[in-house]
């Protein structure tokens, strides 16, 4: 899904159901699966990594839940949490960018759309970035680009493997060309990480599109994806307009990308930590202490 589709869907109200983890109905202790309609106790859903036990639907999760699912308990050390966005273009569409930022900051408690840091996975140290789709559709502006770049540089300096959890509609238009250039900046840092023969794995989650797909999402030594995640460069709508024909039903899903050779393995979220740890071990990464950042 492109950012365009995301906005369009949000307009139609489709997305509201997906984005919100807790339904407003009843006492807020229950959740209805948007896929199979089964009602489950919210606590049970969280215990199952926010995956429907009945049908396997992966609910969208925020960056803190994501980090908790990957990092060993209490092992995550946040980096560069003090980086904050500015409004470099003085951008205003129907609303001012500055207002959109304030609103996203208030509703998420984050300064911008990614959380980065160092952690351990079954004892193995690793650099970890988790994009947060709640923050302006996970769009990538200067702060997202800078935090990810610093994380890659820190991982290279410490000779650590790296996981970036992607969830993004692409570049953040409100920062104009500065957003586009983050794609190059991050790719340059990844080149150095690669040159140092360190393992980099992006995890593509729903949705991963646009400028993120055309940069770090597709540059993994190994590319992991969540089941049924939407992954693509151009938006489905745009392509349908050019082609004037129906696209395959599973177009741009993780499974479709795997069939076409662009995803190494699809990892159910409930097996995420153990799969990561296994892959890290198979690439020679060993459990050790993580000196503080």
């Amino acid at each position: 899904m492109s950012l365009f589709d995301w906005f369009a869907d949000r307009r139609k109200g489709q997305y509201v159901a997906n984005v919100k983890q807790e339904p407003d109905e009843g006492d807020g202790l229950w959740s209805k699966c948007p896929e199979c309609a089964q009602v489950v106790y919210l606590k049970d859903l969280k215990l199952n990594a926010s995956v429907c036990a009945n049908c396997g639907y992966h609910h969208r999760i925020d960056s803190s839940e994501r980090i908790a699912l990957i990092a060993d308990p209490d092992s995550f050390q946040v980096l560069n949490a003090d980086l904050a966005p500015v409004d470099p273009l003085g951008f205003k569409d129907r609303r001012a960018y500055a207002d959109r930022l304030r609103e996203s900051q208030a509703s998420t408690g984050l300064r911008d759309g990614v959380v980065t840091g160092l952690c351990r996975v079954e004892g193995i140290p690793m650099g970890l970035a988790a994009m947060d789709f709640r923050f302006m559709g996970g769009s990538m502006g200067s702060v997202v680009g800078e935090k990810i770049t610093r994380l890659i540089e820190e991982s290279t300096a410490r000779k650590l493997p790296l996981l970036i959890v992607c969830a993004s509609g692409g570049a953040r238009m409100q920062e104009g060309m500065l957003s586009l250039m983050q794609m190059a900046k991050i790719s340059g840092a990844l080149e150095r990480h690669r040159e140092a023969e360190l393992l980099y794995m992006p995890l593509l989650t729903h949705p991963t599109t646009g400028g993120v797909t055309a940069s770090f999402a597709m540059l993994g030594d190994l590319i992991l994806a969540e089941p049924k995640a939407l992954i693509g460069f151009a938006g489905r709508r745009v392509i349908e307009q050019t082609l004037r024909e129906k696209l395959p039903d599973n177009f741009q899903t993780a499974e479709y990308l795997q069939e076409h050779g662009f995803v190494d393995t699809i990892v159910p979220r409930t097996q995420l930590r153990s799969t990561l740890a296994n892959l890290l071990r198979l690439h020679g990464c060993k459990p050790m202490e993580l000196t503080s950042a």
Binding site: A84, M181, A214, A217, M218, A234
Partner: protein, 329 residues
């Protein structure tokens, strides 16, 4: 005067040009000396043209940047090189016509030249896919850049695309992956890379050959994160607001100099490059020579370090001190 497609804001010039043409006709048919009137009118027309082109809005610049007779990649290559050999194919089954490349000599230097290529007319535009390259185009470009790296040929790229192609096959062949690999691999190149936005620089499709030591832009070229049309329909929910989006996105050379995205903006001949293509070629040629001289004086190591630092510095943000953070929290 040459017949050419006129842009909306060029129309005031038409009347003047018609007058000039009439007087020329008159002079040819009779013995009357009209040189003085002619000179006056011509300098008036030149002044008008300059005024109009100096005051172009971003939306008008897009029209100039997309002008069908604006010099294209192949035009510049023909102006620069006598011994150009186009090189074809990505070695994976494709030879994209929207992104072309080859070797040639500029001055006395053998170089690799790579660029997006639009068509002049509908027929050629269909063959060139309107300058929108498929994954095979980006992979061909990367193959040629690797080749240039191995034989130490400096690389000149010419950016002129509405964007990378959005289509079913492009997705299946990995449009995102193709561009991403170029972004990463261009940081490894040991030869100088100079990229010039000669027309429109459309988002990732432009950046896919744009990771350069020097990024130059013609005065009326534009470089955008998203097309103003798409941006307007997403953020304004109204595609008709594209001119507003064009202004808000800060897409002109001057904007991008301020944002430290481009290194130099090249002045165009009065009326734009399409008015005087040869002159525009000389302007670009001189700039390329100057930047190549500078870049070739660096060691390979220095060159790569400088390229990294250049992109590393891009972006604007606030870094709060920890005290500020506590106050804010």
């Amino acid at each position: 005067m040459p017949r050419r497609p006129l842009l909306e804001f060029e129309k005031p010039l038409v009347e003047l040009e018609q007058q000039i043409e009439q007087i020329r006709q008159l002079a040819r048919d009779s013995e009357v000396d009209v040189s003085q009137q002619l000179q006056q009118l011509e300098s008036l027309a030149a002044r008008r043209r300059q005024e109009i082109f100096q005051g172009l809005t971003p939306a008008q610049k897009i029209q100039v940047a997309r002008h069908p007779q604006r010099p294209s990649t192949l035009d510049f290559i023909q102006m620069f090189c006598d011994d150009w050999v186009e090189l074809h194919g990505d070695r994976r089954g494709n030879d994209d016509q929207a992104l072309i490349g080859g070797v040639g000599r500029v001055g006395n230097r053998p170089v690799m030249l790579i660029g997006h290529q639009k068509g002049r007319d509908t027929k050629e535009n269909v063959a060139r896919n309107f300058g929108m390259a498929a994954p095979g185009g980006y992979r061909k470009a990367m193959r040629l850049m690797d080749h240039a790296d191995r034989f130490r040929l400096p690389i000149l790229t010419f950016i002129d695309t509405p964007g990378a192609y959005a289509g079913l096959e492009a997705e299946e062949q990995g449009q995102g992956e193709a561009i991403a690999v170029n972004l990463r691999e261009m940081f490894r190149l040991r030869v100088p890379v100079i990229a010039t936005v000669i027309g429109e620089g459309g988002s990732g499709g432009a950046l896919g050959i744009g990771v350069a030591d020097r990024l130059l832009m013609f005065e009326h070229s534009v470089y955008t994160v998203a097309s103003p049309e798409a941006c307007a329909s997403i953020l304004w929910r109204d595609a008709a607001k594209a001119p507003d989006a064009a202004a808000a996105l800060r897409i002109t050379g001057r904007d991008l100099l301020e944002l430290q995205v481009v290194d130099e903006v090249l002045e165009e001949p009065s009326g734009g490059n399409n008015w005087a293509p040869l002159e525009s070629g000389e302007i670009l040629r001189a700039a390329i020579d100057r930047h190549l001289d500078e870049l070739l004086s660096l060691s390979e190591q220095q060159l790569r370090e400088a390229r990294y630092s250049k992109f590393r510095a891009m972006g604007r943000f606030l870094e709060k001190t920890s005290q500020d953070v506590e106050k804010a929290a």
